[in-house]
């Protein structure tokens, strides 16, 4: 690594740390501006430049006026970390052996130079970073794909994104629903038969790789029973097996968290008080215990979302789903730099956006974290 690259990484981390020291007022202003800029960047793809400006400005004003401090802090953290992500990814790709132009046909130096100029992939990682960021900011484009010639990365990813989001969201909902139901039921009666079934199921879910579970599900439901398609993409029936496969390990972990949370809440004094004053048991659980039981689960949803994204690489491959995971894996193996960066940016934005929602939900559920600046 050259001195410039090391310096740039240090500057990036410094920028991240610097954001943390901003006083609350500055965080409000900068957070709103960053949030507006990000929404502009995302909305420009669908609404055009004017639409993007309107949406961005609207969000900036809303954030400055109503945004809670925790959320604004996260948003100020977002833009520098996306920049750092692009830079670190660029470095990793440039230092990996091979290049997007290494193929069976050995190109002459002149041809390679022309190709590099055409795709905006110079020999230096730092130069590439600047070209990439400038293109991202000025044109709002993720750059041309080297391997799928004549196509831009965003036009390739656009049809894949809804597929990945649909799969990811459905899995997350399934994981939360299954996990909570199983875990709370187990936690209400520890060491009962229901508890042993739930903990046993979740232990199995945690100790088999998802693709094995997926393969078993395919054998049972597609090959033996013929209820669901083996693989592919099209209607809702194609979504069932992949979503269940992807959700199971997380459902298992959520069940464990919910079980622990329920056991702890049920031993609290306010539960005894509620029972003593004659609240029916169902109401005790639903009105008083539920909130406490799901708190640890809510804080796990952020990491779970990141994990489901990761798992989707595997599940999309297993079921032949045309999502973003395949573009990333193919791009990484083919050294398609702009494709790797594009998928990385989209994945990271999805995960952070989801983390924001989780933060908001957590603040709403647990007033203790709401007040601090």
């Amino acid at each position: 690594m050259s001195a410039v690259e090391v310096g740039a990484i240090a500057a990036g981390v410094g920028m991240l740390a610097g954001v943390a020291w901003l006083p609350p007022k500055a965080t409000r202003v900068i957070g709103s501006i960053f949030g507006g800029a990000l929404v502009f960047g995302v909305a420009r793809g669908g609404l055009g430049v004017t639409g993007g400006v309107v949406a961005g400005a609207l969000l900036a004003v809303l954030l400055a006026r109503f945004g809670p401090n925790t959320v604004l802090r996260r948003v100020t953290f977002l833009l520098p970390s996306l920049l750092l992500l692009v830079f670190v990814t660029t470095l990793l790709m440039y230092h990996a052996p091979g290049s997007p132009f290494a193929g069976e046909k050995v190109a002459t130096p002149q041809v390679e130079a022309a190709l590099r100029a055409h795709f905006g992939i110079p020999k230096s990682a730092v130069e590439f970073f600047w070209i990439y960021v400038r293109r991202l900011v000025v044109d709002g484009s993720l750059g041309p794909s080297v391997k799928v010639q004549g196509r831009m990365v965003e036009t390739l990813l656009r049809p894949a994104l809804p597929v990945s989001i649909a799969l990811g969201l459905l899995s997350l909902v399934l994981a939360a629903a299954f996990g909570l139901a199983l875990g709370i039921r187990a936690g209400l009666k520890p060491n009962s038969a229901a508890d042993y079934v739930a903990t046993g199921l979740s232990a199995i879910g945690l100790s088999l790789p998802s693709f094995v579970i997926g393969a078993i599900l395919i054998v049972i439901f597609s090959l033996k029973l013929g209820w669901l398609p083996v693989a592919g993409w099209g209607d809702l029936r194609h979504l069932v097996l992949p979503a269940v496969t992807l959700a199971l390990p997380y459902a298992a972990y959520i069940a464990r968290l919910a079980r622990g949370g329920t056991i702890e809440v049920m031993s609290q004094d306010f539960i005894r008080t509620a029972r003593a004053k004659g609240v029916p048991e169902a109401a005790v659980v639903l009105r008083h215990a539920l909130k406490g039981a799901i708190l640890p689960v809510v804080s796990y949803l952020g990491p779970a979302a990141a994990g489901i994204m990761t798992g989707s690489f595997v599940v999309e491959t297993l079921f032949g789903i045309p999502g973003m995971g395949q573009w990333f894996v193919r791009g990484a193996i083919n050294r398609d730099y702009s494709m790797v960066l594009g998928t990385a940016l989209v994945y990271a934005s999805l995960v952070t956006a989801f983390n924001l929602v989780v933060d908001l939900a957590y603040a709403w559920l647990d007033p203790r974290v709401r007040s601090d600046a």
Partner: protein
């Protein structure tokens, strides 16, 4: 372990943790099973002269029998040999990658927690940032740093997995060190003129080893599962449980069912992970009964 001889002396935290662990039968049997599994994987192939690589074209896809306990695979190789040797690499990668992340995580977390303030802020911000990146993404990128010819070797896999999995360890260690550094014995060591490096190495790190053991035990199964994901994507090891399982998933078809190809490595993998998880949970309850 006879604490009864000195009833007046308080039980040391380590002895107390050990006593609690001994009572946990689930964790105990888990430990025994994992140890047995490891012994089988490392000793049986050489004891029984099992050969995982020789192909027998006449014996393709044989169901389990007395000659081939676990059957044979699509190239007529003895599957028992492959499952056991694959277990060696899986366990080894799990162990080495975990050691890598223990070293990185303990060092990083101890430094961040011990110095605190701005150093801590900068270092933990970086950890936050790394958490936000889908880790499979980083693993694959780090794997690519190694040349094409190293594909299938254990070194790139455990480097990549170790470099990604240390985050939780660093967070846990840092949290512990933040409170440890305020304790009297640290102050005493510093008053005696011990350097920062010495305080960290001799006084701080030994005090976090308990919790580090817990998380290390829970990291091993995570690493083994991640390796199987890599194998599934064609980036993993040449021969491991993950690789065998993903190969078996690849030949699932409606015409002929080679159940033993999927069943045996999955069973070994699942039992190992299950036991390790129970051992880790047992250790956590023993070391830190309130932490959950």
């Amino acid at each position: 372990m006879t604490t009864s001889t000195a009833p007046a002396r308080a039980e040391s935290p380590r002895a107390r943790a050990w006593r609690r662990l001994r009572k946990n039968h689930l964790a105990g049997s888990g430990l025994v099973l994992v140890a047995g599994m490891a012994l089988a994987c490392f000793l049986l192939p050489s004891l029984l002269h099992l050969d995982p690589t020789t192909t027998h074209p006449a014996l393709r896809h044989q169901a389990p029998s007395a000659a081939h306990w676990f059957g044979t695979d699509g190239l007529g190789r003895d599957y028992a040999a492959r499952v056991l040797t694959g277990g060696q690499t899986s366990l080894l990668v799990g162990l080495v990658a975990t050691l890598t992340c223990v070293v990185i995580g303990v060092f990083y977390g101890a430094v961040a927690g011990y110095y605190g303030g701005r150093v801590d802020e900068v270092m933990m911000r970086f950890v936050d940032f790394m958490y936000g990146v889908p880790y499979m993404f980083l693993v694959i990128l780090i794997m690519l740093m190694f040349s094409e010819s190293a594909r299938g070797d254990p070194v790139p896999v455990f480097v990549a997995l170790g470099l990604v999995e240390w985050l939780t360890m660093a967070r846990v260690v840092r949290g512990q060190v933040l409170t440890l550094r305020e304790r009297e014995f640290v102050l005493a060591a510093r008053l005696l003129g011990a350097s920062d490096a010495r305080v960290i190495a001799r006084h701080i790190v030994p005090n976090v080893l308990g919790i580090v053991t817990v998380y290390a035990t829970l990291t091993v199964p995570t690493v083994i599962i991640l390796e199987s994901f890599l194998s599934f994507l064609g980036l993993g090891l040449k021969l491991s449980w993950g690789q065998l399982v993903s190969e078996a998933v690849g030949v699932v078809n409606p015409v002929a069912v080679y159940w033993w190809l999927l069943a045996f490595p999955s069973f070994f993998l699942a039992v190992t992970l299950l036991c390790l998880n129970y051992v880790g949970d047992g250790l956590r309850d023993a070391v830190d009964p309130k932490g959950r």
